[in-house]
Symmetry: C3
Subunit: 329 residues, 3 copies
């Protein structure tokens, strides 16, 4: 969602300045009712309101930061087209300096929101430390992404080059966002991390919670509809296809009847597992190393290593000549 109305390019209607005093469209009553709703909401949700009601990270600004980090990680491919071999390092230097400053501002907003009582200076310093720590991880993130790209290239007959994978495959876009978001999640900026995940979800249809742990050489093909939950753990060289869900089976309630947050409740997928399109694996189950899970399989229990799990489909299909009555779906 773009949340920055662009005033410069979309000024008030020509006659609006003259009518500024007037109540164009009779909005005053609506404005008053909306203000009253906000006032009541903030009273009822005081714990939230106190948490820095004026502070919240911006999706639009974080989208910009991620673009810049992508450019710094892959300057000739994801940077602007003035980047050449001779000015790569200059570009990366300037871009990182800008991106880190902007990211620090967004992390500071999160910390002010979640810990308003800690004060401005402490949150400012914490935000700086988080961004510095992310920066130190960038070379490792680039290293992991190179392995992801190679895994995709090896796994998809339609890929013509590593560069095509990087530029064209939504799975790569999702994993770039995830590897950045997961690090920020661990470093103490879970909200900024979640927003970054959702930026990617909106662009790719791939929904990976920033808490999910994902090993090396991860490949998602096509990807639309993939869901990977907060506490999922994936080993190395895991490959998954569109529509795969690694989800929770049920949600334990605490003594007050409210959901218990953040309990381990998503699958563990060991090394070298392949999960085909539309498969659903739910709960804290373990899929043993080297297994293949067939398309549309529904699994809620452990599977030993080197298993092949698929639906016994044949017996359930009905094939008959077409007639003029009702369509099957």
């Amino acid at each position: 969602m773009e949340n920055l109305p662009d005033r410069s390019s979309a000024p008030l209607p020509a006659d609006a300045s003259a009518q500024a005093e007037a109540d164009l469209w009779n909005v005053q009553g609506i404005v008053g009712q909306l203000a009253e709703i906000r006032r009541k909401w903030r009273t009822v949700n005081a714990q939230h309101a106190e948490y820095g009601v004026e502070s919240f990270p911006s999706r639009v600004r974080l989208a910009k930061v991620v673009e810049e980090l992508c450019g710094a990680l892959f300057p000739l491919r994801l940077g602007p087209d003035f980047v050449r071999l001779h000015n790569e390092d200059t570009f990366v230097t300037q871009t990182l300096q800008i991106a880190f400053s902007r990211l620090q501002a967004q992390v500071r907003l999160e910390l002010t929101y979640s810990s308003p009582d800690d004060g401005r200076d402490i949150n400012d310093d914490r935000a700086t430390q988080i961004v510095l720590a992310l920066g130190r991880e960038l070379p490792e993130i680039r290293r992991l992404l190179d392995i992801d790209i190679e895994a995709a290239f090896r796994g998809d007959p339609s890929a013509r080059s590593l560069d095509e994978v990087l530029i064209c495959f939504p799975g790569l876009l999702a994993i770039i966002h995830h590897r950045l978001a997961h690090k920020l999640h661990l470093l103490g900026a879970p909200l900024v991390a979640r927003i970054i995940s959702e930026i990617s979800h909106g662009q790719t249809g791939i929904d990976i919670h920033p808490g999910a742990q994902i090993g090396e050489g991860f490949f998602i093909d096509h990807g639309t509809g993939v869901v990977i939950g907060e506490t999922a753990i994936l080993g190395d060289n895991v490959r998954i296809y569109q529509g795969v869900t690694l989800g929770a089976k049920n949600f334990p309630l605490g003594p007050t009847g409210a959901l218990i947050k953040s309990l381990p409740r998503h699958p563990v997928i060991e090394n070298n597992v392949v999960i085909y399109a539309g498969a659903t694996i739910l709960g804290r189950v373990t899929i043993g190393a080297g297994s293949e899970i067939g398309g549309n399989v529904w699994l809620t229990h452990d599977v030993p290593p080197f298993s092949r799990v698929y639906q016994a489909r044949e017996q359930n299909l009905v094939i008959r000549p077409s007639s003029e009555d009702e369509a099957p779906a």
Copy 2:
């Protein structure tokens, strides 16, 4: 789809002004053929062509209007970052005045398109009435959205705050768009409504027809692939997951062999129903209150209240050790 080529930032190539008289890229033949196709199309589809061929609402401009309405509904979260507690009402006032003016122009285009014979003044007045009526509903829409946000927060263990739900959950983005679009659909601007729905569909992968009736406390988790049809009716506190379809089973044909439009053909989902990922419910069936529909279930008949419907899956799964022959899918 962005449909406004930005001329200012992307001028003609350097040598183009010199060649402006020339036929750069030999386009004249193509232009002529395209014009001929349009001329013929308009002759064949005269009923459409007469319906204000020059008038049609703009997806880009409606996206802007919806952004502004989102900002007015949640100024500190979905508005621009200069909004603070002290200037909230000023921001909401100005934003609504701008958004309503722009929306009126788009609704007027729809009315000119669908009822060109009614004349400019009548359509202009109708458009104004529709926008004023939408405005009066905004406080109620905000009230409903607050209940939706609380339902999502209660239903998802990964949500840390109500604000996180509002900013990060695509289901919320979809329901904001739907509640605005549904009202416009009822008020007589079904095309503007449909465009708003599709803006949300493109961003979230959640496809809710503006005609669908949805009660209070609606929560869609993850959401990619959800489809809710035109005549679906959902009660209060309904929760659905990614990939759920509430669709039509078949499409009755009228005496001319053409589809009958707008007949009730989608499910009725009563209060407090949960529908898990990938379930498909088709036709004008009723799912009784308090029922749970399991993942991937395919339902084309009524279900009584407080039912649990799920697949008897175990017997159909084949699990065997991996070998080197063909992959299962």
Copy 3:
């Protein structure tokens, strides 16, 4: 992914020019490590690096070109709102001239990348020939799209007009992109074609490889999650719904153990076939003309013409009264 950081609207922080010499955010170490990773990568992947490491088509620029081509194909609907009947041809002329120039630059980048040894002049000329050939096909593409629009209108009870289909239906957006991309794929610009496909995939959730051959009157309803593979062949008047996969069953390996690229491995769908939501058809199988494939069906073998294939679902559904124990999913 937007890859053009917008420097004008987002200048360096106020104090940055003063610190330009300093190492803001201590990035020098990171920059050095990233440079070293790139250097090693280019050594290991020399065959790629030589392929014009500085040349690669831009997703952002191609998105612009496609917007312009859409405007030229449907000026009053997908063009900017200053277009009227009286200036349609002028608009189409200027827009095609700009779009072709820009597209030629992107195709040239692809050719330089894939065939750097052929030299600047040869690649420049080839790119021009490809764009001229695409231009000659535009009237035919418009003709096909008109038939697609009519097929959608006939097939969906919620559609009120042909224009609504064009503006609102993501399936139309996908097929516009595909018909352009497929032509570019055949003309020798497969990378530019693939990028155009992925622009559409990101916007619609519909993933059609540019290699897929698709006949007249193609209609995709809702569309999120649809995947159509590189070597699929679809006849005329095929209709598919959300979540349908036309995929590969397995990937033969060549003598070196690497995947064999581009072998026929996706389904052939004959004329007048309907495939309902969530169906999965895998491998080089043929679905005979006039068949209907039911929702969620999983098919890996041929089906004769005029078949109806659906799941025998009833026997596998368990319906029982709700209790307080664990949720079904």
